[in-house]
Amino acid sequence: MSETPEPLLSVEGLEKHFPITKGLIKRQVGAVKAVDGLTFDVRKGETLGLVGESGCGKTTTGRLITRLLEPTGGTVRFEGHDITHMSQGALRPLRRDMQMIFQDPYSSLNPRHTVGAIVGAPFRIQGVKTEQGTKKAVQEILELVGLNPEHYNRYPHEFSGGQRQRIGIARTLALKPKLIIADEPVSALDVSIQAQVVNLLEDLQNELDLTYVVIAHDLSVVRHISDRVAVMYLGKIVEIADRKGLYERPMHPYTTALLSAVPIPDVKARGGRDRIRLQGDVPSPLNPPPACRFHTRCWKAQEVCKTVEPPLVALAPGHQVACHFPENAPAPADAAPEAAVPAAPGAATE
């Protein structure tokens, strides 16, 4: 993948706290810290995978970037524009370049609209005129995503799940966006259809020079499609690295545990690895554990993990980890994990 120095999307310290109110006067008694300080860049042409368990804030992150939700803190910069608190009116022209693929193909298409109306909606909403008319443009896009352009006048209920997701992708592509946020694009589909849709996304990326942020909980899908992967736990990124580095040399214990849970189709190969079973449930984001949020379930946790939050630091080129006791870490002179342990409390000033 080509790398340009200036990131297409730049997220810094992004936060979303959902207030919990009580009583008649709506007194705020707490907040669900769904996303609590995310920082990452997405470069043009690459695919960033965002993985994590249910409820870790992946979907919220996607919705914050596309401004379907209002961030509580931090900044989101898209192509150099600060869109964090931009008004919806000012945002409208930028939305052409930033689109979203939705999770559930049964709920993301209006059942009362024809395919033509659904895929043509971006043109109508954005007031875009095409040379040969909207219908021709829509039919070209339908063909691009592998649907029969003759199905222009059909309704969503006449299609299968995979076909519906293709309709959703066609709508996303209508205005030729630069960035696509795909929120669990295949998790609602059959495994056999998942591969088709994932391959379609890859082909479209090559053809149209797209940049993706793919949100998923399926590590195999993410491995297949991503150039870089960010692992989230309870609203924070615990590890971010290029695909190869993350899957072959995971440094954060949580990543290691996640990867060990991926099913291996080959029965013979199964014996050769240790599965790490995490104890307990994900703590509530309403009242997350202090310091390192993973310490309640981590087998390597020590006193320091409960008192000092590990910062997200680069332990290898392009490989950032937020852990006091990373695994597989390279051992250059001063950044050796063993050496870093005693120094960590002092280094991790928050």
């Binding site: 939705f102 009362r112 909403i125 006048n153 209920h157 799940g161 090559n206």
Partner: protein, 330 residues
Amino acid sequence: MTAPLDVSGQELQAAPEAVLDGAQGKAIEGRSLGQIAWTRLKRDKVALTGAGVVIFLILVAIFAPLIVSWFGHPPNDFNQDLISSETLAPKDGTGISADHLFGVEPVNGRDIFSRVVYGARISLLIAFLATLLSVAIGTLLGVMAGYFGGWVDSVISKAMDVFLAFPLLVFAIALAGVVPDSAFGLSGDALRVSLLIFIIGFFNWPYIGRIMRGQTLSLREREFIDAARSLGARGPYIIFREMLPNLVAPILIYATLLIPTNILFEAALSFLGVGVRPPTATWGGMLSDAVRFYTIPHFMFFPGMAIFITVLAFNLFGDGLRDALDPRAR
């Protein structure tokens, strides 16, 4: 990267979901949900009968003067020659003949058939327009409450509670009693009809409003609304283009089921003497007159049957419509 897939050459023909979607079964080119509902409705004989009766009644109401002129007995003409001067009852008990299909009234001998036909005009006019008013207010406020939420929702929902707690019948009697013979530039029947439409329509909106609010709340969470928002759609676009097409079915269903309720309410008000004033023929007014002549049952029977058949037909049609438009709501 994986080997590129020949996407354009690939045609997915799997359609297992079409089967799951139920009655529409086979995928036919471009059938909208409305068309599917229509084919389903066509199979429902009971609902079709109801619809037939409804259409017949509407035609009767529209062409009432024409129908009555065939028989030559205007609804307010006295036919005293058919009335026995001693008992004040029709001479042969009912007065039913080829000339007077439903017989004549006691005392003054007015033709019951003509009065029932003209009564349909008042009943249906008031019921339809009152329903239209309820649906308009209810949909507007219900969708606003559901879509905007927050304090808008609180205010509208509280208003609905107030309206639902309102003693409508008592209020209607009181209001209809104090309004003078001419007001708001209207007088006579036009004023009474407008007043009834306003009272019945204005106080029924919370029922449909609540349904619309609930439907909007559930629609708002659907991803296609988010999809429209992420494309930069404004509020009006989302409400009118994305939500309203999904609300047409419940609006139609509840409007059809509200009409018979309104017919009954209008009849009740006329029966109580606060509806359209005599001598204008109304079904409720005729029933009210007939109460004094309980020994002459046909006087009560025909307007009573008219109300009964009309309400039944609307209800059967409304139920069938609901089954056709929303098969899961049985």
